[in-house]
């Protein structure tokens, strides 16, 4: 048996999980993990929560793998080593450390924040993606009285919550008429909006920032309705785009991510896979391409690809989507999809569960401090997905 060299490009949750799972599956070859950032690989969910909320000493995000584990699992980590380009024919990746050859490559380069040209060249404007971003913002918040958050998604809401916990005045500015417009139904968004208002966050919905004022440092912003807000610090949280610029010209199919087969193999390439935020795979049941930016999905994709590589299998990826967000001390969780109708129920602790229906079928749920109730829906949806996967792996399914 020839040992195979696996090159994992990206050392966030997906890349690290892949390396760990390969070893658990007794993968015998060389595993090389490429991290564009310095330091040990770290977990991102804490960046908008504990790391930002910390006053005084720095709070580092948890590491995903430490030196002892890297040694024990025989994983070579190249730190501060971004991939610059890939030659899919020669099977090499160009990096500052030279050309790295691979037998199998797994791309896990994640996503990068979408930027707003309105705020170019102004200090005090922050984006949040990396450990360095979070530390920079945490320090800036020490001298911030007025924070503006542009974007009413989950990240913006968590930044707002963390800043409020430090006594900072916060305004969320969202161009859509409500929060979470891309992902959640109006009833759920209303609940999140009420949570922010109850905790002293000002919401400017249906408005955008026309321009920013300041000499070097941001000072004021002017909203689309003409009003002016005093601002010391501004955070832009308007979503992310997959990190695929370095793959332009590689021959891989790029379209809002790396287009992949149902088993996460890059289209047209037999030994290149994509996992995590960067992967846009074809759902075999619907024929549609999907891309997720979820911690849980990234880990599931990594585990699947590791298993497929070791077993020389091509099991399709399926998932029961699950996300969470902690805002103002309330645990918001969502599982599955949103449907055409929903019900709203309270639990005895005062938590709230929205159950999403497509016709009579439950397709998802959103909970506010309703972990137990949400888990019930999640297990039900997970069992259904497992049934579908078992069917798909044991033979053709008729009637689809």
């Amino acid at each position: 048996m020839t040992p195979h060299d696996i090159l994992i490009i990206g050392a966030s949750v997906a890349g690290v999980r892949l390396a760990q799972t390969l070893r658990r599956r007794k993968y015998p070859g060389h595993i090389r993990l490429l991290d564009a950032e310095p330091g040990l690989p770290y977990d991102k969910p804490a960046l908008s929560k504990e790391v930002l909320a910390a006053e005084g000493p720095q709070a580092d995000p948890p590491v995903l793998i430490d030196e002892n584990q890297l040694t024990a699992l025989d994983i070579e980590l190249l730190q501060g080593c971004p991939a610059e380009s890939m030659d899919t024919a020669a099977k090499t990746v160009r990096t500052p450390a030279g050309e790295l050859a691979f037998t199998t490559a797994v791309i896990a380069t994640g996503a990068t924040p979408r930027t707003l040209p309105t705020f170019a060249d102004l200090d005090g404007v922050h984006y949040l993606r990396s450990r360095a971003d979070a530390e920079g913002l945490r320090v800036a918040l020490e001298n911030t009285r007025h924070l503006a958050v542009v974007g009413g998604g989950f990240i913006g809401g968590e930044v707002a919550s963390s800043a409020r916990s430090r006594g900072i005045e916060v305004t969320i500015i969202e161009a859509a008429p409500r929060l979470l417009a891309r992902t959640m139904p109006a009833e759920v968004a209303h609940e999140v909006a009420e949570l922010h208002r109850a905790n002293g966050v000002s919401l400017e919905l249906g408005k955008s920032v026309s321009y920013a004022v300041g000499e070097g440092q941001i000072d004021q912003i002017v909203l689309s309705d003409g009003r002016t807000l005093e601002v010391d610090t501004l955070v832009v949280g308007i979503g992310a785009r997959p990190e695929t610029d370095w793959l332009e010209g590689s021959g891989l199919h790029l379209d809002d991510g790396i287009l992949c087969e149902p088993d996460l193999r890059a289209e047209g390439a037999s030994d290149i896979f994509a996992i995590g935020d960067v992967a846009r795979w074809r759902d075999p049941h619907t024929g549609e391409y999907r891309r997720l930016e979820h911690w849980t999905a990234a880990r599931e994709q990594a585990a699947l690809v590791a298993t497929n590589i070791c077993a020389e299998a091509s099991t399709a990826f399926t998932t029961t989507e699950y996300i969470w967000s902690d805002q103002h001390g309330v645990r918001i969780q969502h599982v599955g999809h949103i449907g055409s109708s929903l019900t709203r129920t309270s639990n005895k602790q005062g938590g709230l569960l929205f159950t999403h229906f497509a016709g009579a079928e439950i397709v998802g749920a959103t909970g506010f401090d309703a972990s137990h109730e949400l888990l019930g829906v999640r297990q039900r949806l997970t069992a259904a997905a497992l049934d579908r996967r078992t069917q798909a792996s044991t033979g053709p399914v008729s009637g689809r």
Partner: protein, 109 residues
């Protein structure tokens, strides 16, 4: 599709229950800790849940439903009573690794 191991000692995820169905672990509980022993198998675990850090995400229950549950009153993870039918080490290790706040510590004895 054939999921049988060909190269790396793979235990396909979907086959775990079949592979492990022959063992019947017994459990002993001390407070919130539980030692899980598999008959005829020297491996045992103690499972610790940190109630301070647990946020009720439920990932442990999805990974190892025979071992973990969420308390309906507190929304905090708890160890299930009774005799889990097939809590294999992979599921337990998944549960430990899947916790977003690392509230689960698995001690292999």
């Amino acid at each position: 599709m054939n999921l049988v191991n060909r190269r790396c000692g793979v235990v396909p995820l979907l086959r775990l229950k079949q592979i492990h169905s022959g063992t019947r672990p017994t459990t002993t509980t001390t407070g919130r800790d539980r030692t899980i022993k598999e008959e005829g198998d020297p491996v045992s675990y103690s499972v610790e849940i940190n109630e301070e850090t647990c946020n009720g995400y439920g990932n442990c229950v999805v990974a190892a439903p025979e071992v973990f549950d969420l308390d309906p009153d507190t929304n905090i993870a708890v160890l299930r009573d009774g005799h889990p039918a097939d809590n294999d080490d992979e599921a337990l290790e998944e549960a430990e690794a899947d916790c977003p706040v690392r509230a689960i510590a698995l001690h292999r004895k």
